[in-house]
Amino acid sequence: MTLTLTLREAPAAPVRAEALRPDRLAGLSRSEIERLDVWHGNRPAAAGDLFDVSGAGEPDVRVEGDLTRVAALGTGMAGGRLTIAGDAGPHLGAGMQDGEILVEGDAGDWAGAEMGGGRLVVRGSAGRRLGGAYVGERAGMRGGEIVVHGDAGEEAGAGLRRGLIAVAGRAGPAAGLSALAGTIVVFGALGAHPGAGMRRASIVAMTATALLPTYVRACTYQPPFLRLCLRRLRALGLPVTAEQIDGRYTRWSGDTVELRRAEILTLEPPR
């Protein structure tokens, strides 16, 4: 059975709801859930002040209502399943360690920021710094998978250390900014300056992309790892084509202002 939290009305001030994560709600009674602390603007509030609660104690949680001003849902969650029925506010699933979050609409900025594991699926688009690092932190996402069926904003995967970010649509400027490792796959247009300052990570681009002059062409080949990666993304529901799986990719090594151990793989047109 699913535990459902329904936001009664769009809040007057932003709400920060870090307590609303499936692993924390599991085992709690309805009244205990209603008493959980949230922040409404700069004032403490109880979850029951803002949400109607139906069901109880389930690790499968569904949150409904206009949630664009509700931040930090699923933050740090270590298991369970969280479904956002519509759009989600910022910091969704930031620091999550395990479990799955499904957003049926769009996700705000910082979705999956510094997450360590689990899976975040966004049916719509995601905002800035998807899976990114917070200001002052070197490492962003440290594990797990992020799948965005729409577009992603600026600096997706900034500081990425490990894990997989896939964007079916376009990615904004500076994807993979200063990424340490991990993989970013972008099926639509890739914004300006991809991989700026990247150290060991991989960016895979399915469209023709203008690269920084600090990336050097190596060769065109079929990376064995990419077959696995793309088949995995197909299994996760992205429309990956056989041409992309079997395709030849040009490897660009960089960023030469950094370690020069990162790569941007760009799909070559069929011969």
């Binding site: 998978e145 490990r162 993989t183 060769c219 064995p224 790892f225 696995l228 088949r231």
Partner: protein, 295 residues
């Protein structure tokens, strides 16, 4: 007891614990996957001289493999965990890493694992890179062809080594025909391999020798040519040739299933008598009684 009018001796095969791993190798074509598999399983007939035993379990369709390319599945066995880890690193490093277009995957989910890709990565001389996908770590090793991909950790399980059938017939051709039929019937059993050439050994051995330093020697009691020379010969009158089929499996059940299939096939294909090898039951904990395998 008799099976299809063939005498089946009321005895048992005595087998030993061995640690086993399953290696999945894919390649651009089935031919290259098979080339890798043949090299990987070469010189791996018996732990007596090869430190491990290995065989091709089966060919894999592209739909069955992790990367959607044709492949093969190989089983490799060694007496202990440490030895199995070493053999995996040596053999994958020398025969799969070197083979054009191949990728190497762990084919066994198990609680116990050994590090393989994490050791082979050093061939990359610092240019190697790792990727984690769905909880599994892979190593990308740059090579002259392009890139070799190998999974870091391989699952290993306590398996069974040394299941066997011994097939006796009037002459080499009939004995070999029966053994070939048995091997063909045993090969489809998943989780088991026949490590000897073509699955068949002509030189079954006994433990020890009259010569010091020789840890195994010819099984003289089953050598037809010695029937007139040794007092304890077990070669019946009229038998001119004997073959042994050794079976290693990831558990008792695959070994049992293979022996059952082989027993039936050999009995239909010209064997005069079928028996099995043991050491009195005191050395190996796995006993496969032939009477339990006869339908």
């Amino acid at each position: 007891m008799r099976l299809h009018d063939v005498e089946v001796e009321d005895t048992f095969a005595e087998a030993f614990p061995m640690w086993g791993a399953r290696i999945v190798v894919t390649a651009a074509t089935p031919t290259w996957a098979m080339n890798a598999g043949r090299s990987l399983t070469g010189f791996a007939t018996s732990v007596i001289g090869c430190k491990c035993e290995a065989g091709i379990e089966r060919e894999l369709d592209a739909a069955e493999t992790p990367d959607g390319r044709p492949g093969i599945s190989v089983l490799l066995f060694a007496p202990d965990r440490e030895g199995l880890g070493k053999r995996l690193v040596e053999r994958i490093g020398q025969t799969v890493l070197t083979c054009p277009t191949t990728v190497c995957f762990n084919g066994l989910e198990a609680d116990t694992e050994v590090d393989v890709g994490g050791k082979l990565r050093f061939f990359g001389d610092g240019w190697q890179a790792s990727k984690v996908l769905a909880g599994r770590r892979y190593w990308r090793i740059p090579v002259m062809e392009g890139e070799f991909l190998v999974e870091e950790r391989f699952g290993i399980v306590k398996g069974v080594g040394g299941g066997n059938l011994i097939i006796l017939a009037e002459q080499v051709a009939t004995a070999l025909g029966a053994a070939e039929a048995a091997a063909a019937a045993m090969r489809p059993v998943e989780g088991a391999i026949l490590p000897f050439p073509g699955g068949i050994a002509r030189s079954g051995s006994k433990v020890g020798s009259r010569y010091s330093g020789q840890i195994a020697s010819t099984n003289h009691v089953l050598c037809p040519t010695l029937r007139g020379q040794v007092d304890d010969s077990q070669v019946p009158n009229g038998v001119g040739s004997v073959f042994e089929i050794v079976i290693d499996g990831l558990g008792e059940e695959p070994v049992r299933a293979a022996m059952r299939a082989g027993l039936d096939a050999a009995a239909r294909a010209g064997a005069l008598r079928i028996t099995a090898g043991n050491y009195g039951g005191n050395l190996g904990p796995h006993h496969f009684h032939l009477k339990e395998l006869v339908p």
